[in-house]
Amino acid sequence: MTVTDHTQATADTAHSHGVIPDKSRADRVVSFDVDAFPVPTGREENWRFSPVRDLRPLFADEAADGHLEWTTSELPAGVTLAEVPADEARERTVREPGDRASAIAVKHAGGAMALTIAANTVVEEPITIDLNGVGGDVRGHLLVELGQSAEATVVINRTGTARYSELVSIDLKDNAGLNLVLLQQWDEDAIHAGEVLARLGRDARLRGTVVTLGGKVVRLNTSAAFAGEGASVDLFGLYFADSGQHQEHQLFVDHAVPKCTSRVTYKGALAGKTAHSVWIGDVLIRAAAEGTDTYELNRNLVLTDGARADSVPNLEIETGEIEGAGHASATGRFDEEQMFYLRSRGISEEQARKLVVRGFFADLIHEIGVPAVEESLMRQIDLEIAHVEEELEHE
């Protein structure tokens, strides 16, 4: 059974695109071979919302000479960060790349950086990795590996600018727990296509939070696959798209084994005439995955005229023996009645907007579980709103 629906809303209209029949997500090509993926034209199922022209530099099968500046917090005992040669890096990657940008990233990254946390190591403080772009073309391959029963929080923060493609592989052995925060705080001209691939062993737990605020184009494709029973993923996402920004988040949760749980919760705000966000959430419950419990949600708040949010949840169910499966997708205009209510209590227009947008994101931000990140995000969101005010003034 395949359930697909698609809501898309511009400022004035909210309507359904209708069902777009799709082959099973399980049938998508994956390969380390770049030639397995023709250069995307924008007509392909997984590229149909993407600005392929802007992304073109990331489709070129050639060496890239740029790099990101790495700054890493002090690594405690049991944690290592090391370069891994290309052959070995491919072997330690949890799955083959799922699109051309990702395959090229692996091919031209010149090996991977591997963050490895030994079995039974519990890291209390968040491990932070700051990646700062200084321009140019950059290919990246990153491995995050947690041994059995290891636990850690990893915050990866991207700033500066680059034309950047990457594959991030996340390997959680049995009973490991990872809280991974990926922050896209790029300068406004950065182009970023990333594939994040997670594999979870038995009883493993992944909490993934993606925050996309910066960049001209950010396209993140996250896949989580269950390899053992009793595992769970919680994937949260927060994005704020202004004029000229394209922010795309694709998700794929692959329930291949019984008794696993997945939750996907993405929320976005959009402001400005050409702001565009895309959310595609695919969940596949394979025949063997009895006792699956899954729910995915995407909500978009359109603050000004002209912004466009595409939202496509897609649930594929191959067994009836499940605990629960659901999805919800909603895109709404900024509510003028809420504004009136707040302003009738003396609250200024700008502050009222701030309250409403902060309120929209509040529960999500509290899920991140890294206080420093939560606080800085609230400040960032205030800045985004201040930016909206400027745009509105110019109208």
């Binding site: 809420q338 009136f340 209510y341 302003r343 009738s344 003396g346 502050q351 309250l355 409403v356 309120g359």
Partner: protein, 251 residues
Amino acid sequence: MSTLEIRNLHVTVETPEGTKEILKGVDLTINSGETHAIMGPNGSGKSTLAYSIAGHPKYEITEGSVTLDGEDVLEMSVDERAKAGLFLAMQYPVEVPGVSVSNFLRTAKTAIDGEAPKLRTWVKEVKGAMENLRMDPSFGERGVNEGFSGGEKKRHEILQMELLQPKISILDETDSGLDVDALRIVSEGVNRAKENTGLGVMLITHYTRILRYIKPDFVHVFVNGRVAEQGGPELAERLEAEGYDRYLANA
């Protein structure tokens, strides 16, 4: 001593069928300490009057004036009207998800006063006001009107009114849908504000029952976008006995 003066107010709204005039020349003066009951059938324009004074963008003023102590209210933005001392307890308060009641109250108080209230006294003040309105302290942590029952929403409106201390308050059917216990609690709140701050009240209601708990000085019968008759409390008693039919027949 404050005075809200409404003169020859005409208001239209845009409907799918075109522009529609709803208020057709309203005259009304409310002074501090006075309670004016505005009574009228559904659809007569009571909420339109309330929203127009508060500055809701859907309503267009085509003629007339509204002043507060001589200041032109119609020139003010919505938040400026609140800062000038007007308050509207809404008939259908909206939800603002994720914004806690306590954050909302503090933000509003700060905006109205032009400075943040002293934390210690403010916390005590809020706590006391909530106790008076029989609101559980956990209310402060809930989202504004999020999942509130009808009665909780109305008590929350009165809570704001008591804390923000306006000069003139418009209560739009605050009594509708309340059981007697809740009605009593809400009425006590209004009477407290009258006593403590000399609040002037425009008490919009469809039913006469609330007038047993909040004594009006004046009663205005509102029909088809204007005041059809006015008098003292005795007019309310007559309405209770006869209903609005007499006015509707004439309209």
